[in-house]
Amino acid sequence: MPINYYITLALCLFAIGVVGVLTRRNAIIVFMCVELMLNSVNLLLVAFSKMHHIAKGAAATAGTDGQLFVFFIMVVAAAEVSVGLAIIVMMYRNVHSININFLNRLKH
């Protein structure tokens, strides 16, 4: 498959994520959108890694170094999700809402 498809798909996913983060007020959805962006980046990394090695004429199994980043990102994302969900749970307990605009009051 040409690399363009991967790029287009990743761009679409990223754009959906951005728009979601910008427009939605529900914390969990915002969270999901963040994950979406991260994963679109993962997808691109994998795709580019693969393409890079094919272009150099190496074996199809080679080209795992770019994919290693993806694992790191997944680990970090998992950690982030656990912390983020914990925050959301605590927030819900306190204010009975998961609207992120409630966090505004932190500045006061």
Binding site: L22, I100, N104, K107
Partner: protein
């Protein structure tokens, strides 16, 4: 004779110590202690000066180098004192007259509060210290320190009663006018350093070093030095500060006018006589300015009614004579007149102080009169002072003034005639002053009349001593034509001026001519004295002056002229700079920057909304912008 050097530095150091003790202890020391310390240090200095004088007379001329003062590259200026014939005479005048004035002050200033009394004596000691530094310095830089010091002290003392606005204004005037002269002095100093690389007198005044200067340079330097001297010694055009300096306490006037300060300019020119002798153009300028000042001030003094103002203008006039003598190359006559003038002018000022004291602060002669009945000692001493300043034969003023006039005659008969006119004016206004004050009937209030008394001993004893000096002081300089070899002062000063005499053109005046000149001037002076006495003793000049008299009373409107020509334009320039340039432009820029920043901040504040969403939106927009730039604009 090393011990001379070990001791002479005490001469200025003692007054400085007195100043420090009195200044710091003005709140804790009693008046008696302050007066004792203040006068005692000057007496000690006087004794040391006497000793130094006799050392010099025995032929021990010294330059004492204590430590390097400025060492920059090739320029080496040591802190050094020079004790020679010229400075020895000044030392005696300063400390001797200074001491009498200090003693006088202990009584005159006794009504002041203790801390002001201490402050007064601290200033007085500092004044003497500065003046001693001025005359003892062995180079122009040390001299300049003293030069500035006396300027400062005169400011402090003229404005001693600083609560009166006009007094502090007079102090400012004295200080600012002096600064103008000081600037010229400083420029001359820089020129000397630039051309010769030294300021030490003994190095400058050698033929080898003077040969390095071109004629124009010498003229420029001497003219600048002379401008400096006009500031300090109150000559045209910088003389107006001296009459205003009467705002200070009377003993201060005596100190400024007789012993210190105003003679500084004469001293400086006498010190640099070799340089001046090489600049005939400058000599002419000095002589003309001198005689012009002498006449101008004498005419003003004719119509003044304030007893101290008359004396002040008479000082300006007498200083004019000294400059006339310097300009005519009669250096000894100038020094001689400084000396005799110190005696009789100190006497006259202290005498007028005694009168003012008795009158309870009244200074207007029109409200005095007939004081001779109440104040015997003051009356007699004052009369002797008047006779001396008028130049009655036998009194000190006669010898010195006669010598000046003879010198002027040698230079040009016109100068002689004008000088003689000035001498007659002097005799006239002095006896107008004397007759109005001491003769006739008392014109003050009854209360004042009841209060009239002779002053205490601390005032009268200095008067008597000064009166004796005024009478006999002239005999150190009996002219050659009267008695051969009797001019002790001239012989004494010979080493200082001998190089100049070789340079100056010699105009021999025969002894018979000198007899005629002296005879004519004496007769005319005596006639003037008799005329003034008879004119004012019975019927003093009380009416408001009209016509020319009014112009004279208003001092030829010179102060007004300076006000319109210099002070007012400067003031309006100042207020323009303050109101427009400073307040509008400078403040506008400064405040404008502040306003711009706070306005910008207020506008940018809306970006910092605290809404996470909006931040992210901005990030996204920024990213999009970067992409656009990357894709569309970079190619």
């Amino acid at each position: 004779m090393n011990n001379v050097l070990d001791i002479v530095y005490w001469i200025p150091l003692l007054p400085l110590l007195g100043c420090i003790i009195n200044g710091l202890g003005r709140k804790s020391l009693s008046k008696g202690a302050v007066g004792f310390i203040g006068s005692g240090v000057i007496l000690a200095s006087f004794i040391l000066s006497l000793w130094a004088f006799f050392q010099v007379r025995a032929g021990n001329v010294h330059t004492a180098e204590y430590f390097p003062f400025i060492n920059v590259g090739n320029l080496k200026i040591p802190f050094a004192f020079q004790i020679d014939q010229l400075s020895a005479i000044w030392l005696l005048i300063i400390t001797g007259i200074g001491f009498l004035i200090h003693v006088y002050s202990t009584s005159y200033m006794h009504d002041e509060k203790p801390e002001h009394f201490g402050r007064y004596f601290a200033y007085l000691n500092l004044f003497v210290f500065s003046m001693l530094l001025l005359v003892m310095g062995a180079n122009f830089v040390i001299m300049f320190i003293g030069w500035e010091g006396v300027g400062l002290c005169s400011y402090l003392l003229i404005g001693f009663w600083f609560k009166k606005k006009e007094y502090s204004k007079a102090a400012n005037k004295a200080f600012i006018m002096n600064r103008i002269g000081d600037l010229a002095f400083l420029i001359a100093l820089f020129m000397l350093i630039n051309k010769l690389g030294t300021t030490t007198f003994s190095e400058i005044f050698t033929s080898a070093s003077l040969a390095k200067l071109s004629g124009k340079e010498i003229t420029a330097i001497t003219l600048l030095l002379f401008v400096g001297a006009t500031g300090k010694s109150a000559q045209i055009p910088l003389y107006t500060w001296l009459p205003d300096a009467m705002a200070g306490p009377t003993p201060v006037s005596a100190l400024i006018h007789a012993a210190t300060m105003v003679t500084a300019g004469i001293y400086m020119i006498a010190r640099a006589n070799l340089l001046f002798s090489m600049a005939p153009a400058t000599m002419n300028v000095i002589a003309v300015i001198g005689i012009a000042t002498a006449l101008l001030a004498a005419t003003i003094a004719l119509k003044q009614n304030d007893i101290k103002k008359v004396l002040a203008y008479s000082t300006v006039s007498q200083l004019g004579y000294m400059f006339l003598a310097l300009g005519s190359g009669a250096y000894v006559a100038a020094v001689f007149h400084v000396m005799t003038h110190a005696f009789f002018k100190a006497l006259l000022f202290l005498g007028s102080g005694s009168v003012i004291h008795a009158m309870g602060g009244e200074q207007d002669m029109r409200r005095m009169g007939g004081l001779s009945r109440y104040m015997k000692i003051t009356n007699i001493t004052f009369l002797l002072g008047c006779l001396a300043i008028a130049g009655i034969p036998g009194f000190s003023g006669f010898f010195s003034k006669d010598e000046i006039l003879a010198g002027a005659f040698a230079k040009s008969p016109v100068l002689y005639a004008l000088g003689l006119l000035g001498a007659l004016l002097t005799a006239f206004y002095m006896f107008r002053l004397y007759a109005t004050t001491f003769k006739g009937s008392f014109r003050g209030t009854h209360e004042q009349e009841h209060h009239l008394h002779e002053s205490p001993a601390a005032i009268t004893v200095p008067l008597v001593i000064l009166a004796i000096l005024s009478v006999v002081g002239g005999f150190v300089g009996v002219p050659e034509f009267m008695a051969h070899g009797a001019h002790a002062l001239s012989d004494f000063l010979q080493p200082i001026f001998k190089d100049s005499y070789a340079l100056l053109p010699v105009h021999e005046v025969s002894h018979s001519t000198e007899w005629v000149l002296a005879g004519v001037s004496s007769l005319l002076v005596i006639a003037t004295v008799v005329f003034a006495w008879s004119r004012f003793a019975k019927k003093p000049d009380l009416e408001a002056a009209t016509g020319l008299g009014k112009v004279l009373e208003n001092k030829w409107y010179i102060d007004e002229l300076y006000n319109t020509l210099i002070v007012k334009p400067l003031n309006s320039l100042g207020s323009f700079l303050s109101n427009v340039v400073d307040r509008k432009i400078v403040d506008g820029v400064v405040n404008g920057v502040g306003r711009l920043v706070s306005y910008g901040g207020r506008q940018l504040r809306w970006l910092q909304s605290g809404q996470t969403g909006s931040y992210i939106l901005m990030m996204v927009l920024g990213m999009v912008l970067i992409f656009i730039v990357q894709f569309f604009l970079r190619k």
